[in-house]
């Protein structure tokens, strides 16, 4: 049989193979150990030496051509098989996906982290103190002696337990005692914020018996009211993420600061909305002042040497303002609808470099 006819026959078989198995049979028949082309190659040994180069070249060429034809046919068959499979396989992708429930971070925690992020950038560290306080830390050391009218400004929860002097212990009415503990425990300068739970005996539309405050304290040898204004103005603008928020400082009164001020931010009030950062109304946002000399004395610092400012701000309140949450009482109900709506996703970590919020 001449080579041309053999090639034609094998190529016809390749073309006729309609499955990988059939194609493999063709391959074995042609190129397998006992395949027809293999046999031809083997037969070369029996030929006279002068014929071998010509025929060897022809056989090899035939072998390569057949190999290529088989590979091409295999590719065709695979493509056809894949197409057939894809045509067959179906998932109803409109089915609801498997659920991977995400929890939520409470707005108080989120906003606390936002506040910490901003003050961390200004070199403050986070300090903490106990929820149960004694009279001295919560009042006396803060220049609030017994019968001081300021004690009535904050209606206090008393506990049945007593301190070493036999005085009833209290649930702290503000985070200010952390100032005292920080200054007593360390050496100046101080630059701290102290977020935490505080307690007042009050429960109505706008008051809850427990809420959250953040205290700030900066004590060194040179910090004055200009720094107080600069620091808190920078804070407010960073926190509300608007660098054009109008701010105002008004003289006020706190027993533990002198001079004392309240800070207002500009806002627009309408019947059912409050927009921070624009408009002609003012909204009180925090109390602050220069730490009172008597407070410095109470913690053993010389007020002729050390000076600085302190401030206190309601965390829940600024959370309400920033995120438009209407009712303080709802913060503590744990209503899942509320948490899902006002809460934050676990990976929404506020940073100053990436922005505090979306």
């Amino acid at each position: 049989m001449d080579l041309g006819a053999l090639r034609a026959e094998i190529e016809a078989a390749i073309a006729a193979a309609d499955s990988p198995e059939a194609l493999e049979a063709v391959r074995v028949g042609a190129l397998g150990r006992k395949g027809r082309i293999t046999e031809l190659v083997k037969s070369l040994g029996a030929l006279p030496p002068e014929e071998r180069p010509r025929l060897g070249q022809a056989y090899n060429e035939l072998k390569r051509e057949i190999e290529a034809a088989i590979a091409a046919r295999r590719g065709e068959l695979e493509r056809a098989a894949l197409e057939a499979r894809l045509a067959r396989e179906r998932t109803d992708v409109t089915l609801p996906a498997r659920e991977r429930p995400q929890g939520r971070i409470h707005p108080v925690s989120q906003v606390t982290e936002e506040i910490v992020a901003i003050f961390a950038d200004m070199g403050f560290t986070v300090a903490e103190g106990p929820d149960v306080e004694d009279d001295w830390h919560n009042f006396e050391a803060l220049n609030i002696p017994p019968e001081h009218p300021a004690r009535q400004m904050q209606d206090t929860f008393y506990l049945e337990s007593r301190d070493a002097q036999g005085q009833p212990l209290v649930l702290r009415t503000h985070t200010s005692p952390v100032q005292i503990r920080t200054m007593r425990a360390g050496k100046p300068p101080f630059r701290i914020i102290a977020p935490g739970r505080v307690y007042r005996r009050d429960y109505d539309m706008t008051h809850t018996p427990m809420f959250h405050q953040v205290e700030g304290l900066l004590i060194d040898r040179r910090t004055h009211m200009g720094h107080l204004k600069g620091c808190l103005t920078d804070f407010v603008r960073a926190f509300f993420e608007r660098d054009d928020i109008p701010v105002r400082f008004r003289p006020s009164y706190f027993p533990f600061t002198e001079p004392s001020a309240e800070m207002d931010i500009g806002c627009r009030r309408s019947k059912d909305e409050l927009v921070v950062g624009e408009g002609s109304d003012w909204l009180e946002i925090l109390g602050c002042g220069m730490v009172h000399p008597k407070v410095l004395e109470a913690v053993g610092l010389d007020p002729e040497v050390w000076q600085g400012f302190a401030f206190g701000m309601g965390i829940d309140r600024v959370a309400m303002l920033k995120y438009g949450i209407p009712d303080l009482r709802t913060f503590f109900e744990g209503d899942l609808r509320w948490l899902e709506h006002y809460g934050f996703l676990p990976l929404e970590v506020p940073t100053t470099y990436g922005g505090l919020s979306r």
Binding site: S109, A120, G123, D131, S161, P259, M290, Q307, G334
Partner: protein, 799 residues
């Protein structure tokens, strides 16, 4: 504190507008809460008189009134039942805006008759809710066409201030005017404090009777009798002025005391002298002494309280409220005016103990101007004589005006040091003098005589505040705080950072963070180990003890959500729980719960209730992020009593319990009204191994073995009650060098197994650190695993 613009202008000569005054007050620290002007909307409304009222020809309920108005006689249709001839009312004419509705009054034809204006009700005028009829004015002094604002006695803009407790001097209009004048808003005008000549004999003798050392309970008491007064209604100007600030006029004498209270910030009291028996003694109350006060309530007094007494006993509570029995009435002829000083702290304590709020108490407890007692006596006497007639006797003065405090030295440098501003010496002097300080010395150090009305000024820092306040807080230039280093340092301690991470990790498990009260009902605390401490004055018994656990609060959350048909859910809290009643006896804890179905119903998931292992997973997730090596954690039984004894456990590391988890006890769920399966976990973050100090950051090198791992599955038949952990430990321990991973992939009980047994199937991955394992080595390990399981667990390999 409230006052009106005309009232202020009696103390302050000013051309400033209402807006300028309000802005300045707030800038001075006298925060303006509200400025209302009930009269502003009534410009153009005038007084009119009904001459005749006849039935409307076409309507039963309406009347046709003939009215005398500023524009002559008009016909007005009116539906008010009180419309009648002779009534003086308030007329709105065409084009005016009706305050209540904001609509412009148009010419109207009502049932075929043209109405040439409208007679208004109080509600239409924006003056209250009364809409039962049209306004009826007292005709005295009225003229037709007079502006309604004047006829109604509306004083003009009313300021409401939210004062801070230190500014006692601003609880009177005079003090407010002084601050405004000092701030450059006008010129101060003083009241007439000239002595009023006295006639006749003094009133009752007055004696201060306090134990030695307690004299400051009442250092000064002035009584002045005015004989032959007529105590009728006050004149209109006084009534209107009091009404404008929300004080009800009563009678001229009482109104005068209220007026002076608000005008000078100086509370007074008046006795009907005829009702006093004998001399007056100011003393502490006797135990059990009682007083029927002017508010109509009877109070039981105690010896901490200062009273004014006559021969019959206490007749007035010093600085707080007078007594009913000696109060003035319309028949009072001889009045005894009291102007006194009472100890602020004692007054505050008394008022608080008795629960009496009064305008007098508000002022006394903040500290009155001691040097105003005598001038105010003259001013009040003058008002009494002017308004009620009568002849004043000489004042009887007991005690003395307390001496002034010593001068305060003020160093100018403190202003720059604390406020960050400098002021020229002239300005410092001008500000302080305008505020009433006596100023000597300067320019570096000043000797300041503190005005008697500024008891709040006690230190150099106070002077800094005064100067900064008058100069303007808004004029202090803001300065950024500098950080010192260019890159911010971490602001959290390792523990704080760990807490933040745990919070987010637990939330990532699908739990929503709740924040619940630090206090719980005692019964709930009892279910969770008992209350560490009770509160003395809880708001309610429901919130009366500190929480020993976060779980009762979370269970209440679950109960509320269940009540809203949230039939599955997961919440957690990270916060303090209390182990004692003293400062520091609290720990940071995290707890979570899941209730109802493990997941909402879903086509691809098998529906099942939550179980203990859900809670275990939550606890492990928290522990892992808290830095605990969870591979080393094992599970033990013996959970706390609030868990289901057979479906809960503890996560332990060595001898220590790290966390508890499992189904909650049915009794606990019943007590907290939770009608769903609930699983929970709780752990004390403070009880975990301390986070490592963040110095060495190197991690151990990765052990990535190059040799192929081999997987073998084993199904063991074990006793029904064998804890799976025991089998897993046995398998793991059989050949520690080669067993890389053991995974329990099937638990089966029931058909086909002998009674009292279960099948546990584990997948084991083997891998040698040195070479590819041969079949023989693999078989050897498998035999060791089977032997270990049999030895420690009585496990038999299933066929």
């Amino acid at each position: 504190m409230k006052f009106t613009l005309p009232w202020l202008k009696e103390h302050l000569e000013t051309t400033a507008t209402v807006e300028e005054i309000a802005a300045k007050l707030t800038a001075l620290g006298l925060e303006v809460e509200e400025v209302s002007d009930p009269g502003r909307a009534l410009a153009g409304f005038t007084v009119a008189r009904v001459i005749e009222a006849e039935p409307h020809p076409h309507a039963d309920r309406l009347k046709l009134c003939t009215v005398e108005t500023k524009d002559g006689i008009r016909r007005i249709v009116c539906g008010a039942p009180n419309a009648r001839a002779g009534l003086w009312g308030i007329l709105a004419t065409e084009g005016l805006v009706i305050p209540a509705t904001g609509e412009v009054l148009k010419r109207a034809v009502i049932r075929g008759v043209e109405s040439q204006g409208m007679l208004c009700s109080a509600r239409e005028l924006g003056l209250g809710d009364d809409h039962s009829g049209i306004v009826e004015l007292d005709p005295e002094g009225l003229e037709v066409g007079m502006p309604a604002v004047r006829a109604l006695g509306l004083e003009g803009p009313v300021f409401t201030l939210k004062l801070t407790p230190d500014r006692a001097d601003c609880y009177g209009v005079a003090g407010i005017a002084r601050d405004l004048a000092a701030a450059g808003l006008g010129r101060l005008r003083a009241r007439d404090f000239r002595p009023v000549p006295s006639v006749g004999a003094p009133g009752p003798a007055i004696r201060l009777d306090f134990p030695e050392g307690q004299e400051k309970a009442c250092p000064l008491f002035v009584g002045r009798i005015v004989r032959g007064v007529r105590n009728g209604p006050s004149p209109a100007w006084l009534r209107h002025r009091l009404e404008a600030i929300g004080v009800r006029p009563i009678s001229a004498l009482v109104d005068i005391t209220n007026y002076v209270t608000f005008d000078l910030g100086r509370p007074l009291h008046v006795f009907d002298a005829a009702k006093l028996r004998g001399d007056l003694v100011i003393r502490f109350a006797r135990p059990g002494e009682r007083l029927l006060a002017l508010d109509g309530r009877e109070y039981e007094l105690d010896p901490s309280m200062t009273v004014i007494a006559d021969d019959t006993g206490a007749v007035s509570l010093g600085g707080i409220m007078g007594g009913e029995s000696t109060g003035v009435t319309e028949t009072t002829r001889d009045v005894l005016l009291e102007v006194a000083l009472f100890d602020p702290l004692r007054t505050a304590a008394t008022g608080r103990r008795l629960g009496i709020e009064s305008d007098a108490r508000t002022r006394f407890e903040r500290g009155l101007d001691p040097e105003l007692v005598l001038p105010a006596t003259e001013y009040a006497t003058r008002l009494i004589v002017e308004l009620c007639g009568g002849e004043p006797g000489p004042a009887v003065v007991a005690g003395a005006v307390p001496p002034r405090r010593p001068p305060l030295l003020f160093r100018t440098a403190q202003l720059q040091r604390l406020a960050g501003i400098t002021l020229p010496p002239d300005e410092i002097r001008a500000i302080l003098e305008a505020l009433g300080f006596g100023v000597e010395g300067g320019p570096e150090t000043w000797r300041l005589d503190i005005p008697s009305w500024r008891q709040d000024v006690t230190s150099e820092a106070c002077i800094v505040e005064e100067l900064a306040r008058l100069h303007g807080f808004d004029r202090i230039p803001p300065v950024p705080v500098e950080r010192g280093v260019a890159v911010a340092q971490p602001s959290l301690t390792a523990e704080q950072r760990r807490r933040t991470a745990v919070r987010r990790a637990v939330a990532a498990q699908g739990l929503a963070e709740a924040v619940t009260w630090s206090f719980v009902p005692p019964a709930h605390a009892d279910l969770f180990g008992g209350a560490p401490v009770r509160m003395e004055n809880p708001l309610s018994s429901e919130l009366s003890v500190l929480r020993p656990s976060l779980l009762p609060g979370l269970l209440a959350v679950a109960a509320r959500n269940l009540a809203r048909k949230r039939e599955e859910g997961a919440v957690f809290e990270l916060g303090p729980r209390f182990v004692g009643g003293r400062p520091g006896e609290q720990v940071w804890a995290v707890a979570g719960l899941r209730w109802g179905r493990a997941a909402p119903r879903h086509w691809a998931e098998r529906e099942r209730p939550v179980d203990a292992l859900d809670a275990k997973a939550d606890a492990l997730a928290a522990l892992a992020v808290a830095g605990v090596r969870v591979e080393a954690v094992s599970t033990a039984g013996d959970p706390p009593a609030w868990y289901h004894p057979g479906r809960a456990g503890r996560l332990v590391l060595g001898p220590g319990t790290l966390a508890t988890f499992g189904e909650l006890h049915p009794n606990v769920l019943r007590a907290l009204d939770v009608e769903a399966p609930v699983v929970a976990f709780e752990l004390d973050l403070d009880g975990l191994p301390k986070p490592k100090p963040r110095t060495g950051k190197n991690r151990p090198p990765l052990e990535a073995l190059p040799y192929p791992p081999v997987d073998r599955d084993f199904a063991f038949l074990v006793p029904q009650d064998l804890p799976a952990q025991k089998l897993l430990e046995a398998v793991r321990g059989a050949e520690k060098r080669l067993v890389r991973e053991v995974r329990l992939f099937d638990v089966y009980t029931g058909k086909g197994l002998p009674e009292g047994t279960k099948s546990l199937a584990v997948a084991v991955r083997l891998q040698s650190p040195e070479r590819t394992l041969s079949e023989a080595e693999i078989e050897a390990v498998a035999r060791k695993i089977v032997a270990a399981a049999e030895k420690t667990c009585g496990a038999k390999l299933r066929g």
